[in-house]
Amino acid sequence: MILVIEQTLNGLQLGVMLFLMAAGLTLVFGIMNLVNLAHGSLYMVGAYLTTFFYQQTGSFALGVLLGLAGTLVVGIVVELVALRTLYARDHLDQVLATFGLILFFNELVAILWGRTAIYASLPPALTGHVELFANLRYPLYRLLIIGIGLAVAVALWYVVARTRLGMLIRAGASNRTMVAALGVNIRLLYTIVFGFGAALAGLAGLLSGPIYVVQPGMGELILIQVFVVIVIGGIGSIRGAFAGALIVGMVDTMGRAFLKPMLATVLSPSAADTAGPALASMLIYLLMAGVLAFRPEGLFPSRGS
């Protein structure tokens, strides 16, 4: 029972992490109609910049702040220099150009910080465990991630549903020509949305640094999972991204934790040893195929065109 609760928390933690990535990506998809593979690179940039600034300044808070600001700047520069010209192009061009950006960023990071994984440390205040209830001690830092993720989700909901900026974002997602015709500076709106998404990806990257490894190419692994999240949730929908992220986080974590022992009850131990991990790593893709077979537009399709 303790194990189940612990794994549920792990699933929730992975889920909110995926959501931080998916929120920005789905907005960029939904509003600019842009497939941005380089979103994973921004995740990587966030992790590296934060680790770097933390080491330089000795203050974790300052490191986080500078890391986030840095990712925001990198994101805006990428948008202005390369991606802006891609909005009007077809998806194939977007995929290839942003694929080129991934190669570029991975190699740039390797030049600056080396190819080997670097160690992202936590300040001592965040390294402890919290005793949630008897016999369950859970890492404080992971709880913090869950808290931040949920807080960002609420803040995002507020911005998108209750503010003027959010109104423009929703309008832009459903009919951008009309929004531009009404006198809104659509280019500026795009840059804002992109920078916003970049900062969220950077946030996910810097939060993940101390739990996973910080190395060139770290963004691609999570990026493909985030694609699954978005496809399951429905492209362009924040609500879908949130639901999809939690579903994928849970299914992935639970599959890795419990599939092998569950299979062992029906199969021979050696067969379960092989099939368990194989099935666990394929589970979210099977889930996605299942969802798409019944709802090709995802669970929460956005209402725009």
Binding site: V35, A97, F105, S281, M282, E297
Partner: protein
């Protein structure tokens, strides 16, 4: 019959490829037989992708899956001591066609961004499957005990014979691809790409046509996978890595989408550029040590400014589009 400039380029390229082994034997540079054999294998894979992406408008971001399935079909049979080439290559094409049918039947129901991401995700699924099956080497991959055996017909261990086998298959697939594109079937696929509602209106349901093209392309690429594993004599799940899919797409774009000669030019351009940037004798250390940086920039540049590819450099006789 007057031949277009592109056909002449294609014929010249094939003659040049045919001349590579004797020329390298003269210059005593056997490395180039290896390089150009790899180029031709990737040209076959790119050609199959061009069929669905260029002519069919289906942007598959998971074409490396079939390279992997084809390679594993050969590798797994070899693992169990079956080295018969007809059986191995037949299974490679057949298994790839089946996998393509499974992936295609779900993916083709969607379009646009969804299609791109679903094909990517399915390939990723196969990639993780390859990683987690320890019996076939898992993450580390496995060696191919011996190359596919074709009785006394041809010995693939002999580099030059293998080279001409690959060239022969490339030639057959070029002709086959051309015939498919210009058949009634090919016209329907191209019609569905350029205007789906009209295609429906004149009485064609695009789905079965697209699926058939998807399966044909999968089988072709599966055979390329069988060739590739015979070329490297080693296979790993990296055959199916998503970057490999991206590279195949780039080869098609670089060469010129929806042209017969494009995939061959693209594969050659791509692999020669890679070879050049990695070359230690040719370029200073700050280039070859970080060649991917420049490669990435070239990629972005080509997509942004030279979208029509190498084939567009060849003057075509007035008519735009396919040759």
């Amino acid at each position: 019959m007057r031949l277009s400039a592109r056909t002449w380029v294609l014929v010249a390229a094939l003659l040049l490829l045919a001349a590579v082994p004797p020329l390298t034997a003269l210059a005593q540079q056997p490395f180039y037989v290896d390089l150009f054999r790899r180029i031709m294998i990737f040209a076959i894979a790119a050609l199959s992708l061009n069929l669905i992406m260029g002519y069919g408008g289906m942007v598959s971001f998971g074409h490396a899956a079939y390279l992997g399935v084809g390679a594993y079909a050969v590798g797994i049979l070899g693992h169990y001591g079956i080295h018969d080439g007809w059986l191995q290559w037949g299974l490679a094409a057949g298994a790839s066609a089946l996998v393509a049918a499974a992936i295609g039947s779900i993916s083709i129901r969607t379009s646009g961004i969804y299609f791109i991401m679903i094909t990517l995700a399915f390939t990723q699924m196969l990639y993780y499957l390859g990683i987690s099956i320890e019996e076939f080497g898992g993450d580390d991959g496995m060696r191919l005990g011996q190359r596919s055996q074709f009785g006394g017909l041809v010995d693939l261990a002999e580099p030059v014979s293998f080279y001409y086998v690959v060239l022969g298959i490339l030639l057959v697939f070029l002709v086959l691809g051309h015939r498919i594109v210009h058949s009634r079937f090919g016209r329907v696929i191209q019609a569905a790409r350029s205007n789906e509602p009209r295609t429906r209106a004149i009485g064609f349901s695009p789905y079965p046509y697209r699926l058939a093209a998807f399966v044909i392309a999968g089988a072709m690429c599966g055979l390329a996978g069988a060739l590739l594993v015979n070329h490297t004599v080693f296979l790993t799940p990296e055959f199916m890595n998503w970057t490999r899919s991206g590279e195949l797409m780039f080869m098609v774009i670089l060469g010129g989408m929806s042209t017969t000669v494009g995939p061959l030019l693209g594969a050659a351009g791509f692999l020669l550029l890679e070879e050049m940037l990695k070359n230690r004798g040719l370029l200073p250390a700050w280039v070859y040590e970080h060649w991917e940086l420049y490669f990435g920039l070239v990629l972005v540049f080509v997509v942004l400014f030279a979208k029509r590819g190498l084939a567009s450099l060849i003057p075509s006789s007035g008519k735009a589009g396919g040759d």
